[in-house]
């Protein structure tokens, strides 16, 4: 009895002694975190501080210049760009975040299931994913949207399923690696069931690689969804979405209007910010940023 409690205290003290932060951000990482934080705040409060309604024809000028009233100018039908940008932040970020969460849930649960079940379950799931990975993601997206038409659920589910491919592979590999380790064997021997083993033994050990994966998939989802919106096949106008804003104002670019450039730069800063954090994170784990951007 006394021995057991002794063990417990020792474990706690060990934990608190080793409780250094998961990772320390470098300067670039901090810049990235700052950018991400800024856009998260914009997404949360943006619609409340926007000077105009995003669908308001606030000005008679199309492609109006930057002025005190219209801080970022007006778009092709005289709507205030700043207001549309503030409103669009929420949609653009929420869409890709939801898709990434979906990718995570689907990819990780299938990956762990495949690794632990093995045999034909593993083979069937793996072959299906192989089939999806044999097409460039944009082609997959285009075919699905040609068939189903574009709507927000279709966008989220398509992006989520496409990016679950990568997560499936990672989760499966991690689980196979961890599966044979002693503590999992021990849990199995104790007679623990599969869900318990996944949630209490395997998942905690896979957290760190999966966090940087999350950032990476988030970037892919942002690029994928805003790319489709830019092609006119994602979010539909007049909804304020960054990809849509780039598309509708593209014609003004040749006259020197920044109406298309501003939302494009917003997307770029967001994705750069996230990638700076991810890069920092993976550099500290001695890994190159994964290069599968298709």
């Amino acid at each position: 009895m006394s021995e057991a409690s002794n063990d417990a205290t020792q474990e706690i003290s060990l934990n608190s002694a080793g409780a250094r932060p998961l990772f320390q951000l470098s300067l670039m990482g901090k810049v990235g975190a700052g950018i991400l934080l800024f856009w998260i705040i914009v997404a949360l409060v943006g619609p409340y501080v926007a000077p105009f309604h995003p669908a308001d024809f606030a000005s008679d000028d199309s492609f109006g210049p930057v002025s005190a009233k219209y801080l970022l100018g007006t778009d092709y039908i005289g709507r205030d760009i700043l207001s549309r940008l503030l409103h669009g932040a929420r949609l653009t970020m929420a869409l890709s975040f939801t898709a990434t969460v979906l990718a995570f849930v689907v990819g990780i649960s299938l990956g762990f299931t495949a690794a632990l079940a093995g045999g034909w379950v593993d083979m069937v799931i793996s072959r299906i994913y192989d089939a999806f990975l044999s097409m460039p993601t944009i082609m997959l997206g285009l075919v699905v949207i040609a068939a189903l038409g574009s709507s927000i659920p279709v966008l989220i589910i398509t992006a989520g399923l496409i990016y679950s491919c990568g997560l499936y592979r990672i989760a499966r590999a991690l689980a196979i690696e961890i599966k044979v380790m002693d503590f999992v064997e021990a849990a199995r021997a104790r007679g623990e069931r599969l869900p318990w083993i996944i949630s209490r033994e395997i998942l905690p050990n896979a957290v760190i690689p999966l966090v940087s994966e999350f950032g990476l998939r988030l970037v892919f989802s942002i690029l994928f969804i805003s790319g489709l919106s830019f092609l006119g096949l994602g979010v539909q106008p007049p909804t304020a979405d960054w990809g849509v804003m780039v598309r509708e104002n593209l014609g003004g670019l040749v006259y020197g209007s920044s109406a298309a450039f501003v939302p494009a730069a917003a997307i770029a800063s967001l994705t750069i910010g996230i990638n700076l954090i991810v890069d920092d994170f993976s550099a500290q784990r001695g890994q190159e940023i994964a290069e599968e951007m298709i």
């Binding site: 089939a131 044999s134 790319g227 092609l231 494009a264």
Partner: protein, 315 residues
């Protein structure tokens, strides 16, 4: 060795077949009637019936798939729903335009990426390396339309050096054609180079960790000579692999770039077909792009097998 290569080729053909299944299944995942979905709620029964006849929707999906595949193999791509034209006629000129764009981009991007990757790998962690890694990280993070918008604002609007739209019809001289192609090519190059340079750098640095390089360093061979004479030859396999893989990225790049510059290529045609829900045309374009993609990856793998004796033996 040839057995391994042959096996890889076989795998490529199987992959292509799976892709054809996926592309065709795209039409079948529609809940309800394809013809009604394509035309929308307000369609007249006659119009719906016409589409149904044209797509032979009265026949089972398996039969339609078999027909479609055999026609595809014979080079018959079918008839577009929206334009009511032979698809092969519609795409021949477009395909050429996209090929021009892609090959000029490759001609520019490959040497540039190699130079950047080599320069960065020369002194890992050095000033050049940091510049290359950070700038490529930025470039591969941003969407292609951001790169395009920036280049248009700089080169077409402020400097007025280059035109912002590419028509590809009548040009007085080759120079004029090049001028109008410059911005699309620059955009595509920028987005492809980022990946290619990073992966080239990684491939060379990987070779640089081997003992024989350490030996060369210890006996005092200059750094440039080590990279160019010692490391590069053993890195040729992985580097060529990297290049072929990255040329496959062009497939997704052209979709955005052709839309930005209203470039009359195959990708623009496909995007228009998707918004009109012209399924036969979407399927044909998707098959062409996916074939190109699979082909590049196949070439990358075969080159890797040829360059690395360890991959040559069948497992």
């Amino acid at each position: 060795m040839w057995l391994v290569v042959l096996r890889r080729l076989g795998l490529g053909i199987i992959t292509l077949w799976v892709v054809s299944l996926l592309v065709f299944a795209g039409t079948e995942i529609l809940p309800g009637d394809v013809a009604e979905a394509i035309l929308g709620q307000s369609a007249t029964p006659e119009a719906v019936q016409a589409i149904r006849d044209q797509l032979h929707l009265d026949r089972p999906a398996v039969v339609r798939y078999a027909d479609w595949l055999t026609n595809l193999l014979r080079g018959d791509l079918g008839v577009s729903l929206a334009a009511n034209m032979e698809i092969s006629e519609m795409i021949s000129g477009r395909f050429k335009n996209t090929l021009v764009l892609a090959s000029l981009t490759a001609a520019l991007a490959v040497p540039l990426a190699l130079a950047m990757g080599l320069a960065a790998a020369m002194f890992p962690g050095g000033r050049v390396d940091r510049l290359v890694t950070i700038s490529t990280l930025f470039l591969l993070s941003v969407p292609e339309f951001f790169i395009a918008a920036t280049l248009v604002l700089v080169f077409a609007v402020h400097l007025q050096w280059l035109p912002a739209i590419t028509y590809m019809t009548e040009y007085e001289s080759v120079w004029q054609l090049m001028e109008s192609l410059a911005l699309p090519i620059l955009t595509l190059t920028t987005s492809v180079v980022a990946h290619m340079a990073r992966m080239t750098r990684a491939a060379i640095i990987n070779v640089m960790t081997s003992p024989y390089i350490e030996m060369a360093i210890l006996k005092g061979v200059p750094r440039g000579r080590i990279v160019l004479r010692h490391a590069l030859f053993n890195a040729v396999g992985p580097v060529v692999n990297v290049i072929a893989l990255n040329l496959a990225y062009l497939v997704s790049g052209v979709v955005i770039v052709e839309t930005v510059f209203a470039y009359p290529g195959l990708a623009k045609l496909m995007v228009d077909a998707v918004s009109r829900r012209d399924m036969p045309l979407v399927q044909a374009c998707a098959m062409i792009f996916c074939t190109a993609y699979i082909l590049f990856i196949l070439i990358a793998d075969v080159l890797a097998i040829l360059a690395n004796p360890r991959l040559r033996e069948p497992k």
